[in-house]
């Protein structure tokens, strides 16, 4: 007999109510119940960082949370980063311009991780960026393009703020 609960989780602004097994991870909830497959599952034990999402604005590894723990919370996945269907977020644009991805498997986790990091530290050094993404594994790029993209995005985001001010 499985232990089940009904939960209500807001993902990228939309609220989803589902009855789930309590042992279901948040990552599997997002992918298999809500069918948002942008969040990738790599190692399922908190090492690779591919499943990183934002929970109430703070990054978390969605494979290390139960879906029931997200009940009543707000989640942002990679699908919710861009401002609309035609424009990219400045960080996404910087990834494209700086060859910050090749196969794309690590990209959702890199983007969510860097969005929080650039909020905490809007003007980072290269070393700080490397440390910030040290919990996200990429096997294609050798990280150089990702670091360049993060530094470029920091400049773009700062410019945006100045322009908006």
């Amino acid at each position: 007999m499985s232990d089940r609960r009904t939960i209500s989780v807001t993902i990228n602004g939309e609220t989803y109510e589902r009855e789930v097994e309590t042992r279901l991870t948040l990552a599997d909830f997002i992918r298999h119940e809500v069918l948002l497959t942008g969040t990738h599952v790599g190692c399922e034990h908190g090492v690779c960082g591919a499943c990183t999402i934002l929970l109430d604005g703070r990054t978390a590894r969605s494979c290390l949370m139960l879906a029931v723990q997200a009940n009543g919370h707000e989640i942002t996945t990679v699908e919710g980063i861009a401002p609309n269907d035609t424009e990219l977020h400045p960080l996404q644009q910087a990834f494209q311009d700086n060859h910050g991805l090749q196969c794309g498997f690590c990209t959702p986790g890199m983007l969510t991780t860097l969005i929080e990091f650039l909020g905490d530290n809007p003007d980072p050094t290269e070393q700080e960026v490397r440390e910030a993404i040290s919990g996200n594994l990429c096997r294609c790029t050798g990280y150089q393009g990702i670091v360049a993209a993060a530094l470029d995005a920091a400049k773009r985001l700062q410019g945006q703020e100045t322009a908006g001010a």
């Binding site: 034990h45 908190g46 929970l55 990054t59 290390l64 949370m65 139960l66 919990g135």
Partner: protein
């Protein structure tokens, strides 16, 4: 790589949580989940019941009580990292916490969870050992305090009972102007350290060391106070020669051996990291002098 079936509980009070702990004989407490969740996913643990502590109010927070900092068991590592109080009054913890996993895991991981898991390399138990922290545990019908010296019983085995949970940690503070340093070596940033060294020094005007606390992590089954080094420093005047000589005593520690590192390597790291940490701590002490030790 999926958690095994269990019954999930989300108590709203400590009393309800410990009542459940008393009643269920194969239960696990879920704090930040940064160790328990991987263990569930890999099925290293097969609990019948999981008791989630995340919905209990009042279990998190950092407050100052005279010369002690009081942490709730569910205080997140991120809140320690960004706490002005911790940075000001307990700078060793601030320096150490930056080595705990990654931003994503510090957002969830908790002080009490790290203490209960008690990995021999974990930074927060090492800092707690260095500061002579007192761990408060609660069970149905009572609470008690456990001094950090009595807290580890063995490898990943804290001394509290199966029906007890960590509700808070009291960290006695060192006087303003004390020297501190946390050094560790890990293969990759954010990994559990192979070895770490935490140093606290009280230095009198003129450079005489009146009190020393030296803790190495990752060497023994739990964080270890190196009393031979502490005794060798007390009453002496800090110098490059003294620190270089005294840190060698770390090579005499009975060290663990595993697939990651042989015992001699851990002893070597303990000695090098303690030497560096001593130099840094003495340089930072208000009455110390600047020195660089490699």
């Amino acid at each position: 790589m999926k958690p095994p079936p269990f019954t999930y509980h989300d108590p709203r009070s400590i009393e309800d949580a410990v009542a459940l702990l008393a009643e269920k004989d194969n239960a696990k407490l879920l704090a930040g989940g940064q160790s328990l969740m991987p263990m569930l996913n890999m099925r290293f643990v097969l609990p019948d019941d999981v008791i989630d502590l995340n919905l209990i109010d009042g279990l998190a927070g950092i407050t100052e009580d005279g010369d002690t900092l009081v942490f709730g068991g569910m205080t997140r590592q991120r809140d320690i990292e960004y706490s002005d109080l911790v940075a000001r009054r307990c700078p060793l913890m601030k320096e150490a916490i930056l080595n705990v996993g990654h931003r994503q895991t510090r957002n969830r991981g908790t002080y009490g969870g790290s203490m209960s898991h008690l990995d021999p390399s974990a930074e927060l138990p090492s800092v707690s050992m260095a500061q002579d922290a007192i761990v408060t545990v609660q069970k149905k019908g009572g609470t008690r305090d456990i001094a950090m010296a009595d807290f580890p019983m063995g490898y990943m085995m804290p001394s509290f009972e199966l029906d007890e949970m960590v509700t808070g940690i009291r960290v006695p503070l060192w006087p303003e102007g004390h020297g501190y340093a946390f050094e560790e070596f890990a293969r990759r940033h954010g990994d559990f350290a192979i070895t770490s060294s935490a140093v606290l020094l009280d230095v009198e005007p003129g450079g005489r060391i009146s009190r020393a606390s030296i803790t190495v992590g990752g060497v023994g089954p739990a964080p270890l106070r190196v009393t031979a080094v502490e005794e060798g420093l007390t009453g002496e005047t800090g110098s490059v020669e003294l620190f270089t000589e005294i840190a060698e005593k770390c090579r005499e520690i009975d060290a663990m051996e595993d697939v990651y590192a042989p015992a001699w390597y851990r002893q070597h790291l303990a000695s090098v990291l303690t030497r560096r940490a001593l130099g840094k701590a003495f340089s930072r002490a208000a009455n110390g002098t600047e020195m660089t030790l490699r």
